[in-house]
Assembly symmetry: C2
Homo-oligomer: 382 residues x 2
């Protein structure tokens, strides 16, 4: 099997699987906030994990807030920044290619709280145009409640100009929310050097257990919680922690530094793959800096799900664009924002290989894509 949907979710890493093999049968279960020694052992374990995660990602342990994952983190940070609404600060600048964890929340704030959403333009190959934001802010910075732009787009893999947007935000003293979900665990990242107020990650995207995750906060004491409760996480996130998930996050992140060193190699293998694709195929964002394992490939006129199914028949797992369902291929919201037409938009598949991928994974993927396109190009069913 070749698993090429790492951006969607990453199966448990072998190291995590091995860890769980002895952890699950153990006796170490209980409430980490209880006064007995089972509790204090579990709590001590979580604090050790905090140090490990902080160490790998350049954060202080006190800046690590365990929670259920990025969607929760995004909702937490957005409500922290946006509620209550401040007089005169009614504009939110966003990109049209945000993950729904940001996008859906912003729609809510627009509907219920009267914020006005303004979208930065995005190029046809998927790069947000921050120069537009710079001129908007000249006139409107005083009315701006927040700016948000993801670090890396999950569909295209394109790395966004988040550092420039961060600087613009800082110059105007406007809160900047950067969704780092596809940055952490995929590219080098040092939280304290990043200049970001917050960063978020989901365990299931890192090869840890689903239902785990964390929010990094530069100034944790200032954060308004989303989930209230019994004082856990220094009062910043109520509820008994998913301590098993936390332990797997630490195990998973400990494997990261070695994997990041493979990026130049992965980029080279990806370059070969893309060079070998049949004529007629299009690689979205090919000229831009992208995650080394992500390729959003289309072939105008060929049904994206047809390619996905062909590949699955060869035990290779990719996805189509987020919006596709079995019977109604649709160009995704992200691609529509990039002004990509339906002929191309409905044809895309996203292959996202993990950092641990081998050269033969890239080669096998290319081989299967060539076979699939050769077969499907004969059928132009729509």
């Amino acid at each position: 099997m070749i698993y090429a949907d790492a951006n969607g979710s990453l199966p448990l890493l072998p190291e995590v699987r091995d860890y769980l093999a002895t952890r699950i049968p153990s006796q170490l279960w209980g409430n980490p906030n209880a006064i007995h020694t089972l509790g204090s052992q579990i709590k001590g374990g979580m604090d050790k994990c905090r140090e490990i995660v902080g160490d790998v990602l350049g954060a202080n342990p006190t800046q690590v807030i365990w929670n259920s994952g990025s969607s929760e983190s995004c909702s937490t940070v957005l409500q922290h920044v946006l509620l209550p609404m401040k007089t005169g600060k009614t504009i939110i600048y966003s990109s049209p290619i945000e993950h729904a964890a940001i996008g859906a929340a912003l729609e809510h704030y627009k509907n219920v709280w009267d914020y006005e959403l303004r979208y930065m333009p995005v190029s046809v190959d998927g790069l947000v145009d921050e120069s537009w934001l710079a001129s908007e802010l000249d006139g409107n910075h005083h009315r701006c409640a927040m700016i948000t732009c993801m670090a890396v787009n999950n569909e295209t893999g394109v790395i966004q100009p988040w550092e420039k947007i961060r600087d613009l935000s800082k110059n105007h003293q406007i809160p900047f929310v950067c969704d780092t979900t596809q940055l952490i665990g995929r590219l080098p990242f040092h939280f304290n050097d990043s200049g970001l107020e917050w960063a978020m990650a989901s365990g299931h995207k890192l090869g840890a257990l689903p239902g785990s995750g964390f929010l990094l906060a530069r100034d944790p004491g200032a954060l308004k919680p989303l989930v209230w409760g019994g004082g856990q996480e220094s009062g910043l996130r109520g509820g008994t922690q998913n301590y098993l998930g936390v332990e797997t996050l630490a195990v998973a992140l400990q494997t990261l530094p070695t994997k990041l060193a493979r990026i130049p190699q992965l980029n080279a293998w990806r370059k070969n793959l893309e060079a070998g694709l049949p004529s007629g195929t299009v690689v979205i964002g090919a000229q831009l800096e992208r995650l080394p394992g992500t390729m959003l490939i289309g072939c105008p006129g060929v049904h994206g799900q047809g390619v996905q199914i062909e590949l699955e028949g060869q035990d290779i797992f990719v996805t189509t664009s987020a919006a596709c369902s079995d019977n109604e291929p649709a160009t995704s919201k992200v691609l529509r924002a990039m002004k990509i037409d339906d002929i191309l938009g409905r044809s895309v598949i996203r292959a996202s290989l993990p950092l641990s991928a081998s050269e033969s994974d890239y080669q096998a993927l290319l081989g299967s894509l060539k076979t699939a396109y050769a077969k499907l190009n004969r059928i132009k069913a729509y």
Copy 2:
């Protein structure tokens, strides 16, 4: 080992452990919302779990919303009911013995949103007085935004008059939020017969994986999400689900019906235990209906943590009151609301045995308590 902290958290059930032994090494990992067959298998599994949970708890599968647990559920329901603030509806009636998942959130709403909190009185043995609420509502129902009272108190195990409060709320058409966290999985419960709008449970209290849980909603489509995202859970709770946690919830809840049948037996064993306690000890709420495994036992003048440590020395795990820390015994918020003085309040230990406990667990607990009290009664250190 005798684990008597079930109300705090319940170690993985043997059935869950067995399930995980083959599940974790399997290949079935991925994003349940992805278009490929790994995703659709995982998603199908979650829907099967929805049916199982609905079946055990008397809910329709569509009423089951997977999330990270009760604290998240409480925050979700409270923000749904309380935001935005409705003109003239400024009063919230609560009990002073609520779990912090409700209590801490209400404090937040009081501070930021100008709600006024009014507390129902509670008797010295831990029963909320709903007749007080009835007379308050006569004059103030039109100003009331919400009423909340837990079904079962986690410290005392006392079953609260939630059904009467539900009826009062319905008569006045006021939203009623009932924290069911210590009811589900401990006592018989049928959601659709309960007349409740919402019910919540945490996996780690049911012997499933930590970081799992669900909210039951009578009218799910009406719910305002707390965590926004990619449309998961019919748009009601964003973020990739903790599918492994969900599977363990189903496995755990399938064991419930058999265990509930043991309640009369457990009550009898608990009666024997309490009858055998040394003179000088006090059982809080002894005359009230309680969870069959919960005993909040004090011995005025004896340090509660001393008893907890003695019991741990005999491999029996109990807790003291929530507010205790190693060096500063303090009477818990709940006991203070019950007007229990420090001499008794600082002496309590809470033993909470699971539904699977044996008669010899109750007997061994009694034996150890007698030993501990005999030893500690000689030391009246504070």
